[in-house]
Symmetry: C2
Subunit: 355 residues, 2 copies
Amino acid sequence: MGDNSTSDIIINKSATSHIGAVDFENLSFGNTFTDHMLVCDFRNGAWEKPVIKPYEPFLIDPSAKVFHYGQAIFEGMKAYKDTNDDVWLFRPEENFDRFNKSAERLAMPSVPEEVFIGGMKKLIEIEKEWVKKGLGNSLYIRPFMIAIGSGVIAAPSTQYRFMIILSPARSYYSGEVKVIIAEHYSRAANGGIGAAKAAGNYSAQFYPTKLANEMGYQQIIWTDDATHTKLEEAGTMNVFFRINDTLYTAPVSERILDGVTRKSIIELAARENIKVEVRPVLVSELIEAADNGSLKEIFGAGTAAVINPIVGFSYQDKYHELPKLENSMALELKEKLTNIQYKVAEDTFGWTVKI
Amino acid sequence: MGDNSTSDIIINKSATSHIGAVDFENLSFGNTFTDHMLVCDFRNGAWEKPVIKPYEPFLIDPSAKVFHYGQAIFEGMKAYKDTNDDVWLFRPEENFDRFNKSAERLAMPSVPEEVFIGGMKKLIEIEKEWVKKGLGNSLYIRPFMIAIGSGVIAAPSTQYRFMIILSPARSYYSGEVKVIIAEHYSRAANGGIGAAKAAGNYSAQFYPTKLANEMGYQQIIWTDDATHTKLEEAGTMNVFFRINDTLYTAPVSERILDGVTRKSIIELAARENIKVEVRPVLVSELIEAADNGSLKEIFGAGTAAVINPIVGFSYQDKYHELPKLENSMALELKEKLTNIQYKVAEDTFGWTVKI
C-alpha cells in the first residue's frame, strides 16, 4: 500500500480510438473525453480491483444514493506535456489528500493512494497521445466518487464507485470577467461542507450565478453567509486582491476550499518577494481601496483557469472598474506558475511529478 | 396543461410482477421497489413524453452533471389504502409546488403538473396491489429529478430526467430517539439551499450524524449556522417543542424546509385548540424549560415517520431526559393526522386526494 503500485489494475483496452475525430484546436472545456476511464468499486467494506476500460455509459439503479442524497465528491487536476514528450502531473498528492478529506466529510470511504495516484498515472500513460504539447494545452483529469448503493433512506451508502475520466483542454479563457459581490446568496455554511469538493456545493451556485449573468456579471464573489462582510471565493475559484503591492487572500476554513493553485501562488509569491497577507478580507476594505485608488487587481485562482483576472466588480449596485496595468501581478504569477507546470522553468519547489 | 391529463403517457407494462416474492410484514424502509417506474426526460428545452416502464437500472454517462455538480432534487410522499380499497394521496399539490421551488433554486426546469401529479396517479393506479390496507402500511412515493447532461464544466445541465419510483412501507419506527443539539456542524447557510429538497443537503448531514450515533444519539437537532442559538430542524424532519401546553416551531426560512407534515400539524393543532407559536425557538429557552420542568415534549415531523417523538436531548455534554406523559400531544396529533390520511376520520381540510 502507498507505493503507487499499478500491478493490480485490470486493463481492458479499447479496440479503436476516436482521437482522430477530435479537433484539438477547437475544444470546448470539459466536453471531450479520451478513449478510456478508470473504474474502482467499493463493496462489502473493501475496494475491488481497479479497472481501466473503454469510456462508456454505465448502468445504475434509479434509487442509487448519489441521486437522492448527493454523496458525490470530485477533484480537478491537469497533466502537461513538455517539449521532450514527457507528461507531468502538478502536486497530485495535494489533490489526493483533499479528496480523502472530502470523502470523510461526506461519510464516504477513503480511496487508496495506489488507486487514486497509481491508477491515474497508468490511465494517463495509456492516453499519452491525448496530451498535446504547447503552452495552454493540457489533459484535464477528473477523479470522482459517487454512492451507487440503492435505497431511498437518508443514510450513507455501503457501495461506492471511484472513477477517473480525462478531457483534453485548451487554454481556459473566459473573456473579460466582471463580478458581483454576494449580498444575499452564499455558497457555504459554518459547520457545513464548503471546504469539501462536494457535488452539492456547485449546483447551489448555479441559480445565483444565473441571476448575476442576467445582470451582466460572469461570476459572484462569495461572502460569508452570516454577515456578508468577508470576501471568500470567486465563482468556483479562490480569490486574491492586490492593494498597492500586497496580495490579500482569505485563510482556508470550513467555508473556503484549500485550493492547490491558491497555495502554489502563495508559495510562488513568497519566492518572488511579493508580499502576501493571508487573513480575512472585508468588503469595506475593498470598497475603500477601490475608492482611494490603492486597489490594483483582483483575480481568481483554480485548476481550470490557473489565474483568472477580474476587470471590475459591483457592490450595492455600484460598479468599480479596476485599472489596466502594465505590470500585472496576476499575469506575472500565472506565467511563472505555468512555466513550472510545462517544465519551461526549473521547478525549485518539487511540485511536478513525471508519469 | 394543468388538468392532470394522463392521455400522453406511454405505458410499457412489465410481463411479470415480483410482488409475490415480497414479504410485506418485514419491509425495511426504502429498499423494495414496485414493478414499474415513471421516466420523463427534458431535452432541447422541452419535456418529452413520460413513460411508465419496468423498474430497472438505466445507462448514464460518467460525466453526467448530477455526479459532478449535484443537480438533484426530490420529494417524499405516501399513498394510503382505505378499507374500501381506494387509494389516496395526501396534499400532493404541496409537494408538487415545493418540487418546482427546489427546481428553481437548483437552476433546473419546472416539471409540468400533468407529469408530476398526473404521472404519479397513473403509476400508482398500475401499482395499486402494492398499497396494502391497515394503519401503518403505505406506498412511499419518491419523485426526483437529476441532471443527465454530460460535461465536466460547472454550469447547469441542459438535459434532465424526472422519475417516480415507489416503495411499499410499513409504519416507520426508529426506536427511542435521543438527539444532540448541534454546537458546531450545521445543515444550511443563509442564502443557501436549506429550504430546497436538494440531494446535497442530505449527504452533508451524514458525517455529523455518524459522530452523534457514535455518542449514542440517533439524530441531531440542527441550529442556525451563524450563532448555533436557534433550534431549526431535527435530522431530516421539522421539529416541534411543547412547553407547558403550547407547541413551538421555527418559521420556515431559507434554512428550514417548508414541511407538509409540519404545516398539517399546525393546522390540525389549531382545529384541536392546541396553541401553536411559530417563531424562532432558542436553545436557551429549551434548556430553561427543561430545567424548570415546563418542557413536556419534543418531536420531529416528516413524511416518513409522520411524527417522531424524542425521549431526550443532549446539549453541552449534559443530557436532559423528557418526562413520560399520559397525554402526549405528539401521539394525539399523530393519530388524528394518520386517521385523516387513512380515511378513518373525516377529512375536514380537504387534504386527501383519491386516485
